[in-house]
Symmetry: C2
Subunit: 108 residues, 2 copies
């Protein structure tokens, strides 16, 4: 049985991105972060919408307009395609476990 | 901030299904179960694929071929369209919190 909370041991010093489900239009990923952040001058500018939930840990996501969103375990966000954002900080202990869904998720 | 672990209080005696994201092709739901099960003679026979993760509680899913899968928090399953299954049991305490993704998730 696959379990989202089961982490590799020891954790490597880099962010781990694992694809759990993938089709041409759609992707589910587990991301494990341990203190990593998007470099201050960089933004994620994604082609697809993303629905993301933080399942363990604490993190802060910031947006180009200056908004900052502090996340605790269970908090979820819908980030529209091309909504520029970055991960400002992620907790090391406990490690952050994210579940991210990429696809066409917003009605046009 | 929306949080998947935040439950209504008091919980009603029925299963709660909330749609978090919905487009024509795709749906994300939170389901809260407190002891409910699919009636013994019924099967879910779904038009779409489903990726489902149990985020809290314990549950058992059974399949038409006799397989039974016991789930603890964090376990996830991909159920292909028309793969007949039922929820055999769900824990009351803690309540089961499921995250279910419905869409075209399996490559053909």
């Amino acid at each position: 049985m696959n379990n989202i909370f089961q982490l590799p041991f020891p954790l490597p010093p880099i962010e781990i991105v694992e694809t759990l489900v993938k089709t041409e239009q759609f992707r589910i990923e587990r991301i494990i972060s341990t203190g990593q952040a998007t470099p201050p001058d960089q933004w994620y500018d994604q082609v697809q919408d993303e629905w993301v939930i933080l399942l363990q840990g604490q993190a802060t996501v910031s947006y180009e307009d200056g908004r900052e969103v502090a996340l605790i375990a269970g908090d979820y966000l819908l980030i529209a395609a091309h909504e520029k954002h970055r991960v400002k900080e992620t907790s090391v202990d406990p490690p952050c476990i994210w579940l991210a869904i990429h696809g066409s998720l917003v009605k046009n």
